[in-house]
């Protein structure tokens, strides 16, 4: 499996470039951008040379806040889906390959976790335990891995009866060898597609929680900026439009990544959000 064909997918390239761009913006914000909390007397001022994206109700620069908010979105979009990919792949392969009682137990566990929509779980957890970013991350990882696991399990079941697995087994290969050498590589594209869609979802959920006011109040979040904007819709469109565009483009980029991966490795239709 080589990664070169990915560069032929326009969707993948555009998505990847944008995510890299946001990453750069987050680093830039941490190093060089102004103080996102500095207030001024020019409140709710429209876009101008001094403030390209205008200022908010406390006179804070909207552009600076968007740049600083990038880190929050990136953290939550990257870490939980990656953890879920590792756990989900491990559990899914084990359950699918070995089958039997172990499979049944693991499948029940995964189905159980998927019954309540993850946004609800995240909302309730954030409200009761305080919406620290790491807590949101834990809830997301805990609810993402079963959907990855279920996909991988189905794939592993269809793969384990194939001739090359039989052949490998007849040469005396151990189960660990077969899982690590053959199946892992074959489910990898599916997991990659699923993980990038989950990243988009994670960004959306974090913003949704912040919008509802149960996010991490110590961090700048695009969702929270939109919540602040709600009260000034008639007076200052820029405090809603710019953070919204940033958030929408970020999610779009992550979905493009997933789309590009799916096209390239021909796993369309099998990966579910």
């Amino acid at each position: 499996m080589t990664l070169r064909p990915l560069l032929g997918s326009r969707r993948f390239v555009v998505g990847a470039l944008f995510v890299l761009g946001v990453l750069t913006a987050a680093v830039f914000a941490a190093v060089a951008a102004g103080d996102p909390f500095r207030t001024s007397e020019t409140i709710l001022a429209g876009p101008s040379r001094a403030h390209p994206f205008g200022t908010d109700e406390l006179g804070r620069d909207v552009l600076t806040r968007i740049l600083n908010g990038a880190a929050t979105t990136l953290k939550v979009a990257i870490a939980p889906p990656l953890v879920a990919a590792v756990v989900g792949t491990a559990v899914g392969l084990t359950a699918g390959y070995f089958g039997g009682l172990l499979d049944e137990i693991l499948l029940k566990l995964m189905e159980f976790t998927l019954v309540v929509p993850r946004f609800l779980i995240a909302l309730v957890a954030a409200a009761f335990f305080g919406g620290h970013l790491w807590l949101v991350g834990v809830v997301l990882a805990a609810t993402f891995w079963p959907s990855t696991g279920r996909l991988v399990r189905a794939e592993a079941i269809s793969l384990r009866e194939r001739e090359f697995v039989e052949a490998s087994r007849s040469f005396g290969a151990s189960s660990t060898w077969i899982l690590a050498k053959h199946l892992l590589l074959l489910v990898a594209p599916l997991v990659a597609v699923n993980t990038s869609f989950q990243a988009g979802q994670a960004a959306l959920i974090e913003a949704g929680l912040a919008f509802l006011g149960v996010g991490d109040r110590n961090l700048i979040s695009w969702g929270a900026m939109l919540a602040d904007a709600q009260s000034y819709l008639g007076m200052a469109w820029w405090i809603s439009v710019f953070p919204g565009i940033a958030l929408a483009l970020m999610i779009l980029a992550l979905n493009l990544l997933g789309d590009g991966l799916a096209d390239t490795f021909d796993v369309r239709g099998r990966a579910r959000l």
């Binding site: 929509p117 009761f128 959306l204």
Partner: protein, 304 residues
């Protein structure tokens, strides 16, 4: 069985949260220990956790979801009071999204590779990536705040209670927002499934018989594509409560989503536990409904 596990897990999770229910109930001023003890005894908060979970489950099995002190009425009544508004919004949004999604999906499949297909594909991807609360906010800013065409939120105007036209006017923005969100996945699934059906032998046969392309598409390909679409639609039944939290919050729609949000803010434990259980049972019901619909739509699955 699954539902019981969900209910128990919810209950335990919420009980583990910091904060003392008795203290909250006793009020801001604080209360003497005797009063607190009385509250704890009443609500059985002094019993061990497994006992609390057990008695909650026993009551829930008989349809009794407990009593919400904040709402001042049984949880079940509070849920049923909000259900009509939620159903109105959800049903409208589902119908709109199915209509929009299937139409666009079929057009895209029929014109695969053409410009129309590309446009529809980009549209569904962009719409899928739009945060629903931001879209709602933009629509409110444009149509309510700036143009004054439609109300910004709520379900009824204070001066026109019970007027159907009034409710319909309030419904336009939230239903549009919600259905756009729901339609995106339907477009993609319909396109894939219809395109797949168009490659089948029976389609070739129909074409060979000289049937018009339109008839081939609508009579042969589409019905076979509806099965995956049904999966998506029934899947939506379960998540309607979730999606509705954000939509109903932006548009101040008096449905279940809004109730859930309020219950979260006021830490109304029995209400939340009841609603999570209700939402989980919606998911389970939706799965059963999907199985039934399969049998209706696909004769092959009927005699197994």
């Amino acid at each position: 069985m699954l539902l019981a596990a969900v209910a128990a897990a919810t209950f335990v999770l919420i009980s583990l949260a910091p904060g003392d229910t008795a203290q909250v109930l006793a009020g801001q001023a604080g209360a003497d220990p005797e009063y607190l003890a009385l509250i704890r005894e009443r609500l059985q908060l002094d019993r061990p956790l497994p006992y609390q979970v057990g008695s909650y489950l026993q009551a829930a099995a008989q349809g009794d979801l407990g009593f919400s002190i904040i709402q001042g009425r049984p949880v079940r009544d509070a849920i049923f009071a909000r259900l009509p508004a939620s159903l109105l919004l959800a049903a409208t949004a589902l119908a709109l999204s199915a209509l929009l999604g299937v139409t666009l999906g079929v057009i895209a499949a029929a014109r695969r590779g053409a410009a129309v297909d590309a446009v529809i594909s980009v549209f569904s991807l962009v719409a899928y990536s739009l945060p629903v609360f931001w879209l709602g906010q933009l629509l409110v800013a444009l149509f309510a705040v700036r143009l004054h065409w439609l109300p910004a939120g709520g379900m009824r105007s204070a001066d026109a209670p019970g007027d159907i036209v009034d409710v319909a006017r309030h419904l336009v923005l939230p239903a549009t927002t919600f259905s756009l969100l729901l339609a995106t996945l339907i477009v993609r699934v319909t396109r894939t499934a219809t395109a797949e059906a168009l490659g089948e032998d029976y389609v070739r046969t129909a074409r060979a018989k000289g049937m018009s392309e339109r008839r081939v598409l609508l009579r042969h390909a589409l019905p076979n594509a509806l099965r995956p679409v049904t999966t998506v639609l029934t899947g939506y039944l379960g998540i309607i409560l979730t999606g509705a939290v954000l939509v109903e919050t932006v548009f101040v729609w008096p449905g279940l989503g809004r109730l859930l949000y309020d219950s979260v803010l006021s830490r109304d434990t029995p209400m939340l536990a009841g609603m999570l259980l209700f939402s989980a049972s919606l998911v389970v019901t939706a799965n059963i409904l999907a199985d039934v619909l399969y049998r209706v739509l696909d004769p092959r699955t009927r005699f197994q």
